[in-house]
């Protein structure tokens, strides 16, 4: 029983950065902008968090810096895709590479290190320690950002389904010309979606750095791509996207507990499990049939 709870708690913690990045990805793609730069958003968020938290001594300032960094990444994405009309995929590949390079450069320049930065404090405060004393909730919740990610799921769903901005995001992702002829500024709506996406990715990055209590080279480790998979798995709907993130988190958590229980399976094979399962799940459950129809198309159309 205790072990099961540990696996579930692990799943929730592991899925937190997935959830934050994937919610952002869903917003971006619902507006029609393909976003596989979630990885860059996470990594830059983590870097900004670690640097600012270390310099200021405040994880909360680090959190703000992480959100700003995520927003900056997606602002670049927006500028290149929406105004320079660059291919969304190519831009994202460039941003992902840029993020890796920036992380490496910052480690070397600031801390003269090739692999990791100095230790930073997590978000745990007095009141949070009280929460952690609670029997089940304490184990499950981990850090405040785990809770924030969970609360953001209905918040983003509400944004998409119930607000004016959400309606416009859906409209410009499906049929930008229809929105335009009704007086909606397509590019402005896509900018808004991308900036929100950056904010969410930044939060995810902050979680990563705070969880490890430091920034390490390449620490996003493909999580942004898992998040992209979760967006497709969840058919661009926040609640289902979250289910996808939980599923991937659960697979990883299982793998960790399998490894430690050492039932005689080679460790490398067990480590592969989440990735193999990701492939299987995506092959079975994911179809692009419900993708926003204008996904990846430049606006205005034509040249």
């Amino acid at each position: 029983m205790g072990e099961l709870l540990a696996v579930l708690a692990g799943a929730l913690r592991i899925s937190t950065p997935y959830t934050l990045a994937a919610l952002g990805g869903a917003l971006s793609e619902r507006s029609g902008v393909v976003n596989i730069a979630l990885e860059a958003g996470l990594l830059m968020g983590a870097l900004a968090h670690a640097v600012v938290a270390h310099a200021s001594g405040s994880p909360w300032l680090g959190l703000l810096a992480a959100m700003a960094a995520g927003v900056a990444v997606m602002a670049l994405h927006a500028a290149l895709c929406l105004h320079a009309r660059a291919n969304h995929i190519i831009v994202a590949v460039g941003l992902n590479l840029l993020a890796v390079g920036t992380g490496r450069f910052a480690l070397k320049a600031l801390y003269n290190s090739a692999a990791n930065g100095p230790r930073v404090d997590g978000f745990e405060t007095t009141w949070w320690h009280a929460v952690q004393e609670l029997p089940v909730a304490g184990t499950v919740a981990g850090t405040p950002l785990v809770l924030v990610a969970i609360l953001l799921v209905p918040a983003v769903a509400f944004l998409v389904d119930r607000t004016v901005l959400g309606l416009r995001i859906r409209a410009v992702g499906q049929h930008p010309a229809a929105a335009e002829t009704q007086g909606v500024n397509v590019l402005r709506v896509r900018w808004a979606a991308l900036l929100l996406c950056g904010l969410l990715c930044g939060l995810g990055g902050a979680y990563l750095a705070a969880d490890q209590h430091q920034f390490t080279q390449g620490m996003s480790a493909g999580r942004g791509f898992i998040a992209v998979s979760a967006v497709v798995f969840g058919q661009w709907r926040p609640a289902r996207v979250w289910v996808g993130c939980l599923l991937f988190g659960l697979l990883e958590s299982l793998q960790i507990s399998l490894q430690s229980s050492s039932v005689g399976i080679p460790g490398q094979l067990v480590q592969m499990l989440p990735y193999a399962m990701t492939l299987v799940v995506l092959a079975l459950a994911a179809s692009r049939a419900n993708a926003p129809r204008a996904l990846g198309q430049p606006w205005p159309a034509g040249r």
Binding site: T163, V164, R170, H175, A179, T181, Q182, G183, V184
Partner: protein, 506 residues
Amino acid sequence: MTVTPLLEAVELSRAYGACVANERVSLALRAGRIHALVGENGAGKSTLCRMLFGLVRPDAGRILVDGRAVTLRSPRDAMAAGLGMVHQHFMLVDELTVAQNVVLGREPRRGGRMDLARAEAETAELAARFGLAVDPRAPVGGLAVGVQQRVEILKALHGGARVLLLDEPTAVLTAQEVDALLAVLRRLRDEGRAILVVTHKLPEVMAVSDEVTVLRQGRVVGRLDTAATSAVALSELMVGRHVDLSRRPRTTTPAEERLRVEDLVVRGPDGRARVNGVSLSVRAGEVVGIAGVEGNGQAELVEGLCGARSPASGRVVLCGQDVSRASVRRRRDAGLCHVPEDRLAQGLVPAMAVADNAVLGVHHRAPASRGGVLRRAGIAAAAQALVRAYDVRPADPALPVAALSGGNQQKVLVGRELSAGPRVVILAQPTRGVDVGAMERIHAAILAARDAGLAILLVSAELTELLALSDVIHVLYRGRIVHTVDAAAATVESLGPPMLGAGVAA
């Protein structure tokens, strides 16, 4: 000339590169009047509309609203000035509901969020006031085309439009839906709105408009009171010469059976039977027409016959040979040619030159190629012949097909298929979206092919076209032939009810 027009265009000009789309075009729309704007494809009707709605900026000229000059930089400006537009290709977000589409861009809010209940109430109220029956909560994607158009009109009215611009509003409607639309337009007129209807369908112009402006090659060539003119006079103004699209007596008689279809069942991508037990026969020298509201299995029937989709059961017999399971290539080699309904998606490769498009499908044979290598001279000669025979304009086989107008693209497609030496031709919507001049040319080609002894199956949503060309007309409804009639004895009115399923057991 006492009342100031609600909207006036004064000597508007607009060029695209070297091509002058509008040259000093003037037009006045008055309250309580329906103004028809007619002209062939490429005459500049859409450009004028787009300028009036802020989608395109004029190079020169002025736009006056209530007598005051305005600059329309975007549709938002146009809507603020009291203009509304119903686009030819609907500007609807299929995934959203009717109400969401109607209020998009000016959503009612309560607190920080959208007030969907009010959006639905506003939509219902407008719909009731103008007799535009729709369910505000229905997702738009599932609605019939005629209903979607009502949503488009509601959008404009919700935006407070006093002037309504409708671009080819009847192109996709059935005869009954057209009547309903015209009734709505009259109601809007009687409420004091100004209405511009862009069309190339003259019977509708005569039925609904108060005045007409005729465009030809970007210029106004006629400004008339509808009561003082006729459809024939208008068509001659549009084309610049005399045209005749009426039914012509035939000089030949049908001979042996060329195409026989027995109990054909074709399933759609979702596995449902879209063609459900169709049997028919086409003889040499005969045109058999297929009428029906779009989406009743026409597309699947054509795909099943030409081999793009294999039938679930039933037989297709081509000149005595069973080709039910044969590939497209084998059917083509057996003498079956096919003009698909969507010329740009299925019939032509838009980015390729007219010349290359002119030999697609016969590219593997002389004169287009030998031993797998294309022969430029052979292709050029074939293309030249086609361009000349069908009067494709501009007459330059090196141009990409995408650079041609819809009518000229269609001439390339029909010409290619008819000159491939077929014994049976299947034509799907051969004149969709083409102007009267191109239509006349294509109709003449079809009748010439008939007289030369080809067997022709004509699938069309245009009843006047079917009536003018066919010998026999079958009405397709939900994948079945529900009505068969001698074309000479049929009328638009008599075909309408079976097209909508009247008299068919459910």
